[in-house]
């Protein structure tokens, strides 16, 4: 009686060894490293790895180890001086195509890395860093698309020689005609321009209203989010942060997590900035249709500018900050379409003035009828106006900014514009000292809590208590193993979940052992007592764990941030503890006591 078949013992052993293997990467410390990731998200190969190593060796330092990890190049160094020398050298050469970050990396032996294993990833509250939640202003995304429609309809109706006036208000375009006779023609022009828009006849019989269909609005919103994600990734890549995370959350939000970043102030500007440029000709007559007056920034004079945009921020493929004749300047490179337009414009407008307009959105809070509301205001300012002295196309420069503005604008133009403005609604920064404190305190709590429970169990249940302790320890290994395997971030609440699991995981064994004691008291023979103790306690254990699991799953599903971290470790702990406390302890009990003649039980 009380013998597990050999295969079951072997299975328990195999599972335990798998757990140990998965948890193994966590025992090695960290070491200084440089991480290089492709800006376009591509994976590096061996040849590129060797190229990077050559570059670093050219700077007089040699990495202790260099390898590919998830398509990124990782180089480990024995000193932080070597690390920064290598980082600087690489950044100098590869700033355009790669994100070079100084970081810490686990010091895994080759054979452990060979299994594709890595240690638990630590959450921002443990490693320090910045978390930002951004909201995308969808109204502005729709507005800007509607403005393009407005201009398009206007152009097409003029080309068709239909007298009209186009207005855009509250995401609705109204086309007013002089009489009802042009209605059909106007409608077909609009529908030809875009068959998906919703066109309706106005009440007065001589106007049309046009708005975007629901599908179009949704497409536009998705486009805005996707475009913003790309832009934000590009911007974040310029910061040299290892393993940055830029992720969509829900319908209109974006989460940015930057481990190791300590100054949130600099970051705000780079994440939420919408600054971009537009180039327009000055309307010297001042009365061309569509022309409008723009204010100048600082001492710059206001101008009336033409409606047509020669080139705008999204056609800029490169931008560098520097100085031109002692003035801060941004050197701009346009794409081929923008370059072509610029060439045509400068050829046709020699000796006429052209303006660079700096555009930025800001969100403003105001109170209407006692309710706080927010609106986006668009600031458009001329930063310089210059007379076209010669023909140019792709490359030129603009001035009129402070050195800091020039640097930020160049970065933003390089990374691409946001399709819609974003606003920060939540940000949290954890300094590195607090992160380390949290790790130390959390692990200390686990250690002491674990020791207390282990001691209690041995004193209270003697040999059986010791067996429960072995199970408890393997349970910890399994939790660490699963966290490492799933690469779920371990947070401080996550550590609290592990601590709680340590206290609660012995419950299954308490149930079993109390049951065995009851049986022994009732005069049952030891072997039978063991067997029925395990059997009878099973349904209680399962019920009790499933109910806790329900609470944990709800927490995981509905929880955010810290709650999720707690829910993950609690769920893992419940599941692994069922295995270790029931199957694990039974295996040991069977090995120790099974099939023998016993007069009493050490319980």
């Amino acid at each position: 009686m009380n013998k597990y078949p050999q295969w079951l013992n072997a299975l328990v052993l195999v599972i335990l060894m798998a757990g140990c293997l998965l948890a193994l990467p966590n025992i090695y410390g960290s070491v200084d490293a440089v991480q290089i990731a492709d800006n376009d998200g591509g994976a590096y190969d061996q040849a590129q790895l060797e190229e990077y190593v050559r570059v670093v060796e050219g700077a007089g330092v040699s990495p202790e180890a260099a390898y590919l990890h998830d398509g990124r190049v990782v180089m480990r160094f024995t000193s932080s001086e070597d690390q920064s020398t290598a980082g600087e050298r690489l950044r100098e050469q590869y700033i355009r195509e790669a994100n070079v970050a100084l970081t810490l990396t686990p010091k895994l032996p080759d054979w452990v890395r060979g299994f594709g294993l890595s240690p638990m990833s630590l959450g921002l509250d443990l490693r320090g860093g910045v978390y930002v939640l951004l909201e995308v202003d969808m109204n502005t995304a729709i507005d800007s698309r509607m403005a393009l429609y407005e201009q398009d309809f206007d152009d097409r109706l003029r080309d068709a020689r239909i007298r009209h006036r186009v207005d855009l208000d509250n995401q609705l375009i109204t086309i007013r005609l002089t009489g009802s006779e042009d209605m059909e023609a106007a409608r077909s022009i609009v529908e030809r321009a875009d068959p998906d828009v919703v066109v309706a006849d106005g009440a007065d019989g001589k106007s049309l209203t046009v708005r975007m269909s629901e599908t179009q609005i949704q497409e536009r919103q998705n486009f805005a989010i996707e475009q913003n994600l790309t832009t934000l990734r590009n911007r974040v890549n310029q910061l040299g942060v290892a393993e940055p995370l830029v992720q969509r959350q829900g319908v209109d939000r974006i989460v940015v997590q930057l481990p190791g970043v300590q100054d949130p102030n600099q970051l705000d500007k780079i994440l939420t900035a919408t600054a971009t440029l537009e180039f327009r000709m000055v309307d010297q007559s001042g009365d061309e249709p569509g022309s409008r007056r723009y204010t100048g920034r600082g001492d710059e004079l206001p101008q009336v500018l033409k409606r047509q945009v020669i080139a705008s921020g999204d056609q800029i493929i490169d931008a560098k900050a520097g100085f031109s004749e002692g003035q801060p300047a941004v050197f701009i490179t346009l794409d081929s379409a923008g370059g072509e337009r610029m060439l045509q414009t400068t050829m046709n407008n020699l000796n006429k003035p052209m303006s660079s307009v700096f555009i930025e959105s800001r969100r403003e809070t105001f109170t209407r009828n006692g309710v706080e509301e927010q609106r986006t205001i668009k600031i458009e300012e001329i930063i310089n106006t210059a007379t076209i002295r010669g023909v140019f196309k792709n490359s030129f420069q603009i001035t009129g900014l402070t050195p800091l503005e020039a640097r930020d604008l160049a970065l933003l133009l390089r990374a691409g514009a946001l399709a819609a403005p974003v606003y920060k609604i939540d940000d949290r920064t954890i300094g590195p000292s607090l992160g380390q404190d949290n790790i130390d305190r959390g692990f200390n709590a686990i250690r002491i809590g674990f020791l207390a429970v282990v001691l209690f169990m041995v004193i209270y249940y003697r040999a059986f208590g010791l067996i429960a302790d072995v199970a408890l320890f393997s349970n910890l290994i399994f939790i660490v193993a699963m966290l490492s395997f799933l690469q779920a971030s371990l947070t401080l609440p996550g550590i609290a979940g592990i601590v709680l699991t340590v206290g609660m995981a012995v419950d299954a064994n308490v149930l079993i052992f109390e049951r065995i004691r009851e049986e022994v008291t009732a005069g049952t023979a030891p072997q039978h007592a063991i067997n029925s103790g395990y059997e009878k306690a099973l349904s209680s254990i399962v019920d009790a764990n499933i109910t806790t699991l329900i609470a944990a799953i709800v927490l995981f599903g509905l929880g955010t941030g810290p709650i999720k971290g707690f829910a993950i470790t609690l769920m893992l702990g419940i599941i692994t503890s069922m295995f270790t406390a029931i199957v694990g302890t039974r295996a040991i009990v069977n090995l120790a006591f099974g099939g023998r003649k016993l007069s009493s039980l050490p319980i």
Binding site: L133, E518, T547
Partner: protein, 312 residues
């Protein structure tokens, strides 16, 4: 070793039940009254606002800091020590008409006004909108968890047990939240997580007791429901107390060693587990008894009447 030998305490006698009912009623009423009058010390997670945790090189002078902040226009700033003498927590309500980044920079400068170099340990900047959302989601999580648990216990046992279990859980949650209200402890997102863990734990206790009650309903024939339940609770007493003890051991470690930011979480769990242990002994079973639970409730009704004809 044995802490508890076989006991035969009359937990569920009519008199005891009345006392327990009175105690629970008082606890719940006091909690609700405090919640209604004093409310909760909601953390920045729920209210929105700006929070800075800074470390000073030596013990910080709170009055000085308050004066500096007041002079800089932050008259509504809360300043308190956090965990140690050198750690200071500064909290501001949401500043709707100001740029959050500028406010934060200004705060930082003000805190360093004395010329000290401070260690910026933590900055949180939550908009009121996100705060409201987090609060709503937390409340939703509680309600959903209670509903799912009700359904699970109903499937595994019967609705009278379900009602007993959920009554016990609601009791635990209300008293734990009431404790936070009465003592003015900070109520943040981690406390919501702790409450759900308390619900899970307390339920764990209750379900284990119910399991034994079900077993004894059949094992002990000719015995009243009250007596069968009482025997069950006595039989499970050692287990209930030992598991409570081991859990409190680790939570004690977490409270003393885990640091200030996890302390509200630990306190919520400690209070919740003590209350939960009491309620799984009294509230849950007493509620089921009040609903006149008996062995019949647990016998599966025969669904297909044609089967009866086949019986001899």
């Amino acid at each position: 070793m044995k802490l508890i030998n076989k006991t035969n305490i009359d937990f569920l006698g009519p008199k005891r039940r009345k006392i327990a009912l009175a105690v629970s009623a008082v606890l719940v009423i006091v909690s609700l009254a405090s919640l209604a009058t004093r409310g909760l010390e909601f953390g920045i997670d729920f209210t929105g606002g700006i929070l800075l945790e800074v470390g000073y090189p030596q013990a910080a002078n709170l009055d000085q800091i308050r004066n500096n902040l007041g002079a800089a226009g932050f008259t509504d700033a809360q300043v308190q020590k956090f965990g140690s003498d050198t750690d200071v927590l500064v909290r501001l309500p949401p500043q709707p008409n100001k740029n959050a980044t500028e406010v934060r920079q200004q705060l930082q400068e003000t805190l360093q006004a004395g010329g000290e170099t401070i260690d910026l340990r933590r900055v949180e900047n939550v908009s009121a909108q996100v705060g409201t959302e987090l609060a709503e989601r937390g409340a939703l999580a509680m309600v959903v968890a209670l509903m799912l648990i009700f359904v699970y216990v109903m499937i595994r046992f019967q609705w009278k047990f379900s009602a007993g279990a959920v009554a016990a859980l609601a009791h635990d949650a209300i008293v734990t939240v009431g404790f936070f209200s009465i003592f003015g402890l900070p109520f943040d997102l981690t406390v919501v997580a702790a409450l759900l863990a308390v619900i899970g734990y307390s339920l764990n206790d209750t379900v284990v007791a119910f399991d034994r009650i079900r077993e004894n309903f059949f094992a002990l024939r000719g015995v009243s429901a009250e007596e069968a339940m009482n025997v069950s609770i006595n039989e499970m007493l050692a287990r209930t107390l030992i598991t409570g003890l081991t859990t409190l051991l680790v939570l004690g470690a977490l409270l003393t060693l885990g640091g200030e930011s996890i302390a509200p979480f630990s306190i919520a769990l400690i209070v919740g587990i003590i209350i939960g242990t009491y309620s799984s002994i009294y509230t849950a079973s007493a509620t089921a008894l009040a609903l006149d639970v008996n062995a019949q409730d647990l016998i599966e009704p025969i669904k297909d009447p044609s089967l009866i004809d086949d019986l001899p």
